[in-house]
C-alpha cells in the first residue's frame, strides 16, 4: 500500500451520488481539500480538484488537476492581470489506460513541437522550435507511485489547433487506482442531494 492510498484512507471523507457520478470530498489535512468525481459505469475519474486555504485566510480558488476548468465566476473588474483568452491553456483527462493533456490554442504545425520526459524534475517538457511556447507538465499520478516519467510512454498529435499529449499508464498506477476505486465504491453516500429542493 502506498503513501497516497493511506493518506486518502485517513482523510475525513464525505460523498454524494448524482446519476452515475459519485463525488467524494476529502479533507486531507488542515486547510487542504480534495474533490474527486467518478463515473461509476466506467470506473474512471472524471474530475479532481484541490483547494488550499490561503495563508491570510479567505477561501482560495479551486485548482483543477483533472477535468475542465471551473467556468469563470462572475467577477467585478477587480482582477489585475490575466492571460489573454486566446493564449494556450492546458486541460487534463484520464482514461483507463492513458493520461492525457490537451493544450488548446496552439496554432503551430506538428513538426514544431517537441515533448520530452525529464526524469530528474519528474515532468514532461513541451517546447516549440520557434520559442513561443514552453511548459513543464507535472505528472501527479506518477509522483504518487514514486515513478519517473519514461520517454517511450509519451505520444503526441496536433489537430484543430490543439496539441494532444498522451502518456501510457504504468501498471503501478493502474493498480493503485483500482484500490482507490474499490474504496470509493464502498463509501456510503449521503442520500439527500443538496440540489434537490423539495417544494413543500
Amino acid at each position: 500500500m502506498t503513501d497516497w492510498v493511506s493518506r486518502l484512507r485517513n482523510a475525513k471523507k464525505s460523498c454524494l451520488t448524482q446519476g452515475n457520478l459519485k463525488k467524494v470530498h476529502y479533507e486531507l489535512e488542515k486547510d487542504l481539500e480534495l474533490v474527486e468525481e467518478y463515473n461509476m459505469d466506467t470506473g474512471v475519474l472524471t474530475r479532481r480538484a484541490w483547494r488550499r486555504k490561503a495563508n491570510l485566510g479567505g477561501e482560495g480558488d479551486w485548482d483543477v488537476e483533472i477535468g475542465d476548468q471551473e467556468p469563470p465566476r462572475f467577477q467585478k473588474d477587480t482582477w489585475l492581470i490575466k492571460e489573454d483568452p486566446n493564449q494556450p491553456f492546458v486541460t487534463r483527462r484520464i482514461t483507463k489506460n492513458i493520461l492525457e493533456w490537451r493544450i488548446r490554442n496552439l496554432p503551430y504545425p506538428m513538426e514544431m513541437y517537441s515533448v520530452t520526459a525529464d526524469a530528474e524534475k519528474r515532468c514532461l517538457v513541451v517546447r516549440t522550435s520557434n520559442k513561443r511556447y514552453f511548459k513543464r507538465l507535472s505528472i501527479p499520478e506518477l509522483d504518487r507511485v514514486n515513478l519517473a516519467p519514461q520517454q517511450d510512454a509519451v505520444q503526441f498529435v496536433h489537430k484543430y489547433n490543439t496539441l494532444i499529449i498522451t502518456y501510457k499508464k504504468p501498471p503501478e498506477v493502474i493498480q493503485q487506482e483500482k484500490i482507490i476505486f474499490e474504496d470509493v465504491k464502498n463509501l456510503q453516500s449521503n442520500t439527500n442531494d443538496p440540489n434537490d429542493c423539495k417544494v413543500s
Binding site: A54, N55, L56, G57, G58, E59, R73, F74, K76, D77, T78, W79, L80, I81, K82, E83, D84, P85, N86, Q87, R127, K131, R132, Y133, F134, K135, R136
Partner: protein, 420 residues
C-alpha cells in the same frame, strides 16, 4: 519645499521615530493658520516613509457617511495604516517586456484596455491588464526591453533591469541602469515572496461572503468585530512564531476639528492599543467648540486627547519664502512672470493670503495671453487683482452692500422685533 524650517525639523524627528518604531501609539498635531503648509508636510512625510510603510490620508469630514458608522470608518482607517509583513508563496510572472499596448477609448470615458506581451528565452505570452494594473504600469513607466516581475495577487511590479539584447538601443542610458539576462523557462512561477498587507486588507479577504452570495457583495461595508478579533489573534500568533512582522504606519487626518466628541474618545482608546499607528492630525482652528458638545477647547480637540499629542506649530511664511513658493508654482503652471509682477504678487500674498496669490497666477497669465504678451507684467496682475476679490475685500464689499442682497429684509425685521 520652502520655509517652515522648525516644523520640518520636527517632522524629521517624527519620521525617525516612525522608522525606529518608537512612538507607535502616540499622536502628532500640526497646527497653524490656513495656507502654512500643514498638508504639504504630511504628504512629504508620507513619501519619505517609502513604499513599505502604510500611509492613509483622510479628511475629518470623510467619516460622516450613511453607510457606515463613524467608529467603523475610523477603525477601518486605523487598520489601513497598520501593515503586516509576511512571507507567502505567491504566483509571479517574470519576463522581458516585448510590448505594452494601452488604448484609451476615443470618447475619453469608459475603461482603458491594456495588453502586455512578455517573453522568456523559451516562450512568449499575451496578458490582459486590469484597470489598476494599467495605472501602475504607466506609473512605473514600463517599456519594451525591461525585465520585470509582477506579483499576480497584489499586482506589484518590480523592475529587475534592462535586457542585454537592448543594451545598444540607447547611447545615453543612466548610470543606474542595470542590464540583466532575459529569464528562461516558463513565465509564471511560484515563489516565496515577502509582501506587506494592511490589516484592513486581511479583514476584507476574510469577511467576504462565500460562494453564491459573493455575487451580491459589493463593497464590504462594515466588518464584523468577531472577524477582526480572530485576525488580531492570528496575527499575534504569526508574530510570536516569527512568521510575520508588524509595521505601524501613519494615519493622517486633515481638518481634524471636523471630528466630534465620540470620535475623539474613540481615538483616545484606539491610541492605547499596542497595535496602533501613528496618528498625525492637522487643524487650522484656534480655540473653538468641540463638535458635538458646547465646550470650547484649543483646536476643537478635547484636552485629554490634546495631552497625548506632540504639537507641531506651523508659522506663516515670510516674504522671501512666499516669493519662492510663487515662482515654483509659476513653473508648475507654465507661466512666465516678470520680476516686477512677482514682487507685486508677493506683496499681495503677504497682505491677503498665499492661496489668493496663487489663484492670481493663473488668472493674470490668462489676461496676459489675451493681449498676446509672452510674459505676465505688473498690469496683468493689477487687472486680475481688480477682477477677483480676495477674502478681505469680499467681506468689506458685503458689509457695504448687504442691503442689496436677497433675504436681507427678514433679518432687519428680526432685528426690529428684538428691539421691541
Amino acid at each position: 519645499m520652502v520655509g517652515q524650517v522648525s516644523a520640518r525639523r520636527a517632522a524629521g524627528v517624527v519620521l525617525q521615530m516612525v522608522r525606529d518604531g518608537r512612538i507607535a501609539g502616540r499622536a502628532v498635531l500640526l497646527a497653524g493658520q490656513p495656507g502654512t503648509g500643514k498638508t504639504a508636510i504630511a504628504t512629504a512625510l508620507a513619501s519619505a516613509l517609502g513604499y513599505d510603510t502604510p500611509f492613509t490620508s483622510m479628511a475629518g469630514s470623510e467619516i460622516y457617511s450613511l453607510e457606515m458608522s463613524k467608529t467603523e470608518a475610523l477603525t477601518q482607517a486605523i487598520r489601513k495604516s497598520i501593515g503586516v509583513r509576511i512571507k507567502e508563496e505567491s504566483e509571479i510572472i517574470e519576463g522581458e517586456v516585448v510590448e505594452v499596448q494601452i488604448e484609451r477609448p476615443a470618447t475619453g470615458e469608459g475603461t482603458k484596455v491594456g495588453k502586455l506581451i512578455l517573453k522568456t528565452t523559451d516562450m512568449e505570452t499575451v496578458y490582459d491588464l486590469g484597470g489598476k494594473m494599467i495605472d501602475s504600469i504607466l506609473k512605473e513607466k514600463v517599456q519594451s526591453g525591461d525585465v520585470i516581475t509582477i506579483d499576480k495577487a497584489t499586482g506589484k511590479i518590480t523592475r529587475l533591469g534592462r535586457s542585454f539584447t537592448r543594451a545598444r538601443d540607447y547611447d545615453a542610458t543612466g548610470q543606474q541602469t542595470r542590464f540583466v539576462q532575459c529569464p528562461e523557462g516558463e513565465l509564471q512561477k511560484r515563489k516565496e515572496v515577502v509582501h506587506t498587507v494592511t490589516l484592513h486588507e486581511i479583514d476584507v479577504i476574510n469577511s467576504r461572503a462565500h460562494g453564491f452570495l459573493a455575487l451580491f457583495s459589493g463593497d464590504t461595508g462594515e466588518i464584523k468585530p468577531e472577524v477582526r478579533e480572530q485576525i488580531n489573534g492570528k496575527v499575534a500568533e504569526w508574530r510570536e512564531e516569527g512568521k510575520a512582522e508588524i509595521i505601524p504606519g501613519v494615519l493622517f487626518i486633515d481638518e481634524v476639528h471636523m471630528l466630534d466628541i465620540e470620535c475623539f474618545s474613540f481615538l483616545n482608546r484606539a491610541l492605547e492599543n499596542e497595535m496602533s499607528p501613528i496618528v498625525i492630525m492637522a487643524t487650522n482652528r484656534g480655540i473653538t467648540r468641540i463638535r458635538g458638545t458646547n465646550y470650547k477647547s484649543p483646536h476643537g480637540i478635547p484636552l485629554d486627547l490634546l495631552d497625548r499629542m506632540i504639537i507641531v506649530p506651523t508659522a506663516p511664511y515670510d516674504q522671501k519664502e512666499l516669493r519662492e513658493i510663487l515662482s515654483i508654482r509659476c513653473e508648475e503652471e507654465d507661466c512666465q512672470l516678470s520680476d516686477e509682477a512677482l514682487t507685486i504678487l508677493t506683496r499681495i500674498s503677504m497682505e491677503t493670503s498665499l492661496r489668493y496669490g496663487i489663484q492670481l497666477i493663473t488668472t493674470s497669465s490668462l489676461i496676459a495671453r489675451k493681449r498676446k504678451a509672452p510674459e505676465v507684467q505688473m498690469e496683468d496682475v493689477k487687472r486680475a487683482y481688480e477682477l477677483f476679490l480676495d477674502e478681505g475685500r469680499s467681506v468689506q464689499f458685503l458689509k457695504e452692500y448687504q442691503k442689496e442682497f436677497m433675504f436681507n429684509e427678514n433679518e432687519e425685521e428680526e432685528n426690529q422685533m428684538e428691539i421691541n
